[in-house]
């Protein structure tokens, strides 16, 4: 089956090959491109990899990293695991959740910054350590200004 070029899926699949075990790497690429996994890509992706639509849907829905809807302009993940809890992460997360706006705020369980918590990750690669509610407010304000 021809995959629509418009989504860039064909090129992604060509790069990975037509093997079922390429599903996660391909989903990562799709999400990097679109910010989420568009529902209309599930069927062509399934055909291209020799999987069923149900299998692809099952995988997308299983992993918390994959989104089925577009996120806000920035994604702010607040670590809620024990090491960060030990230094006030829960209060920080509750504080963050009270914010609304164009940002997606969600919990994450450990960023590997357990000696310098509470830790926050913005848009996958920007990390912030020893976070406090005040520092978080400033960070979120900065992100909102930028968008």
């Amino acid at each position: 089956m021809e995959v629509q070029e418009g989504h860039g899926l064909a090129a992604i699949i060509r790069r990975h090959g037509r093997r079922p075990d390429a599903l996660l790497p391909i989903l990562h690429e799709i999400q990097e491109t679109h910010g989420h996994i568009p529902a209309d890509l599930v069927a062509p992706l399934a055909v291209a990899l020799g999987l069923s639509r149900a299998e692809v849907h099952g995988v997308v829905s299983y992993y918390s990293h994959f989104r089925q809807a577009p996120p806000g302009r920035h994604v702010v993940r607040v670590c809620c695991a024990e090491a960060c809890q030990a230094v006030g992460a829960e209060a920080l997360a509750e504080h963050a959740q009270r914010r609304s706006g164009d940002l997606t705020i969600e919990p994450v369980y450990c960023l590997g910054l357990c000696a310098v918590g509470p830790a926050v990750q913005v848009d996958e690669t920007h990390l912030h350590a020893r976070m406090t509610p005040e520092k978080l407010d400033a960070l979120l304000a900065r992100l909102e200004r930028a968008s």
Binding site: G58, S64, E82, A86, V87, Y109, G112, V116
Partner: protein, 501 residues
């Protein structure tokens, strides 16, 4: 003359502003016309000192830290390039007691080498293990690993040599080597530091495993929460490929990115995930060593385990075997985390007491309040009260008190902690991360949260049900996620009953 400066590129250092420091150094050096080369090394693991800048001088590497970007002009003014004095000057890095008191074997290149440079790796002794392994028969490599007493550092502590032997003896082909780099336990980051600070060491370990069992393909499964480690590994895998070819080592590695599932750190769930499926746990047997990835014999070891292998091959099994106590041989990079003053990586031989780590290295709590509880071994590990802080750090000693050493993560809590709340969290975490396959974990975790809510609301009759639920989960669950969630819950209940009243 060009001066080499080291500014860690490690994720923790980045989270503390290392990029800004590096940029400031570059800017200041240009302004001053100083010729400097900035190496983005891994972190030494002394996180209260990060960003920790080192400068290579004729008298060794001199450390400064913690350095903020604003400090940089003053540092230059103080003669940073020559190791000049400044309030942030820490002196020769190796002489810092925190480092000097460690026995760094598996992490000995972390923070020292340029993780982006294969040449630097080889210049620091890398490659010798593989070179030696190439001259051995597979069974001899396995024997060396067996002799070393190396046990899996991921938590289960299964002897690596026995696992390798099983894969070597399996008839089916092809075989695979899978590196479990899904370091999801809170309080642990040694895998991340090694991947970011010495990726070639891991690759060499995987290649040796491949030679030992007859595998030509390896997968490195890294959690998506570790984007910097993934980037480092992908670059290193690309750089190492021609190096392996030059040595006629037929071994190709693919880096696989997880997608936010703690259970995928369980080896069979990880295999499912690599194969492109939902990360649900497989029942064992068959063991992955017999029927693992794509149903083929598969060596699965975690990062620290595989990274320990080159030294064993290069230096001999004794280098590992001669450290430690009892059946816990070698060293373990412990990680001090949570509410701790001097949080960081501490690689020491097994046998130290927990208290030594917490006090001598950790310096007590970050908040300054008394330490009340310590969770060792991640979210499925037990909470230990101060009365158990003298327990020796070895697998058997921990098992004896119903605790687990796990991956060596140590999370400290001060006396403001509400242990019932931590017990509730253990269930909540299980509910959030359960793969959903088996009943005790899928439903029990949610019921556990509900029971804890009733209990915390004052219904003490729930304690009996709580214990019954923990018993059901512990003995009924398919994998460690469900069966070990009772560890933090029951240890909290048993050691801190006052919080449950």
């Amino acid at each position: 003359m060009t001066t080499t400066l080291y500014v860690p590129g490690d994720a923790a250092a980045l989270a503390l502003g290392a990029d800004a420091v590096a940029a400031a150094i570059d800017r200041e050096a240009r302004r001053r016309g100083s010729e400097v080369r900035i190496v983005r090394n891994g972190s030494r693991g002394l996180f209260w000192l990060e960003p920790l800048v080192e400068v290579a001088t004729s008298s060794g590497r001199i450390a400064y830290g913690p350095v903020a970007a604003e400090d940089v002009p003053a540092l230059f003014a103080a003669g940073l390039i020559d190791g000049g004095d400044h309030r942030l000057r820490l002196g020769p890095i190796e002489r810092l007691p925190y480092l000097a008191r460690q026995r760094r074997i598996v992490t000995h290149r972390v923070g020292i080498v340029d993780p982006g440079s294969l040449g630097d790796y080889l210049a620091h002794g890398g490659g010798r293990g593989l070179e030696h392994a190439r001259r051995l028969r597979p069974a001899e490599i396995v024997e060396a690993v067996t002799d070393s007493g190396l046990r899996g550092r991921g938590g289960a502590a299964f002897p690596a040599g026995i696992k390798w032997r099983t894969v070597l003896d399996a008839a089916a082909t092809p075989k695979y080597v899978v590196c479990n780099a899904d370091e999801g336990d809170s309080g642990t980051y040694s895998d991340r530091m090694l991947m970011e600070g010495d990726p070639f060491g891991l690759i060499e370990g995987m290649a040796i495993a491949g030679l030992a069992v007859g595998a030509t393909r390896g997968y490195l499964y890294v959690r998506s929460e570790y984007p910097h480690a993934i980037a480092r590994l992908e670059a290193a895998v690309a750089a190492a490929a021609p190096w392996l070819r030059e040595q006629s080592v037929d071994f190709a590695i693919e880096v696989r990115k997880g997608a936010g599932s703690y259970v995928c750190g369980e080896e069979t769930a990880m295999l499912e995930s690599i194969e492109g499926r939902r990360g649900q746990v497989r029942a064992k047997p068959p063991l992955p060593a017999v029927a693992g990835l794509f149903g083929r014999p598969t060596v699965i070891n975690n990062v620290i385990t595989l990274a320990s292998v080159p030294a064993i091959l290069a230096e001999g099994a004794a280098g590992c075997r001669d450290h430690g106590v009892g059946r816990s041989r070698g060293t373990l990079p412990f990680q001090l985390a949570g509410n701790i003053r001097y949080g960081g990586l501490v690689e020491v031989p097994f046998g130290l007491s927990l208290r030594q780590l917490l006090d001598d290295f950790g310096g007590g709590s970050r908040s300054g309040r008394p330490l009340r509880a310590v969770q060792v071994g991640g979210p499925l590990g037990a909470y230990l009260p101060a009365s158990q802080f003298d327990t020796a750090l070895d697998y058997e000693a921990f098992a004896a008190i119903g605790a687990t050493l796990g991956h060596g993560g140590i999370v400290a809590f001060d006396d403001s902690v509400d242990m019932a709340r931590q017990a509730r969290y253990a269930f909540a975490f299980c509910a959030a991360e359960s793969c959903g396959k088996c009943t005790p974990c899928r439903i029990g975790s949610v019921r556990g949260v509900e029971v804890m809510d009733r209990l915390r609301a004052g219904d003490s009759s729930q304690i009996e049900l709580l214990r019954s639920l923990c018993d059901t989960m512990r003995h009924g669950s398919l994998c460690a996620m469900g069966s070990m969630t009772p560890n933090p819950v029951l240890s909290a209940l048993d050691h801190f009953p006052e919080d449950f009243a």
